[in-house]
Subunit: 118 residues, 2 copies
């Protein structure tokens, strides 16, 4: 377990390979894999390899670059055939939004006309 990770975090265990996933993207800072409970034909989770808790007051420079996240999202959208039709990229922070895991993560949704924003 690297110092950048948290032992009891399921996403850190995915980063470490302890929990196997079908990796759809990997960069120096990010990995992506299918959501276990998909809400759309394409539903991919993008996470930083480092354990970053969006509820903690951490330095902005500790976050991944928005551009890197969007680059990952576009790469995944191309692989999954939704680059032209479009996709939604979102992060939930806190209970009202339904955040369940305290490791920053972005949902990429596509493959159908998406509904309301929440």
């Amino acid at each position: 377990m690297s110092k950048d990770q948290k032992e009891d975090c399921i996403f850190c265990q995915i980063v470490n390979g302890k929990i196997p996933v079908d990796l759809v993207y990997e960069s120096d800072d990010l990995i992506a894999f299918p959501d276990i409970n998909p809400k759309a034909p394409v539903h991919i989770v993008i996470i930083p390899k480092r354990h970053i808790d969006p509820n903690e007051d951490i330095s902005g420079t500790d976050y991944p670059m928005t551009g890197d996240v969007l680059k990952a999202a576009k790469n995944i959208a191309s692989k999954k055939g939704v680059a032209e039709s479009g996709f939604r990229l979102l992060a939930n922070v806190g209970a009202d939004a339904g955040q369940e895991i305290d490791h920053l993560h972005f949902h990429l949704l596509g493959g159908r006309r998406l509904g309301d924003l929440g």
Copy 2:
């Protein structure tokens, strides 16, 4: 009109002050204002001051920092009283997601239990 902006873009006109809004946040790179058609009790739009089209193939370093966007989101959530209850932050890219304006923007939604991801 600055070289960083696009003349016929409604969000650039907001950045320039040509279209008045109730600014709820401003930093060097970002501004935020209420969505004109709110989908939740708190619905704020966060945009970079520069015209960035997420559909164009631009360098990752041209994007705002994820950390800066999240910092803005947390600041706004505090001002609007949803920091504890939580919020959703999302970007729509392309038609299926309902993207209507080609200037990168993030929706911040909160103030009620949020529903499905789209």
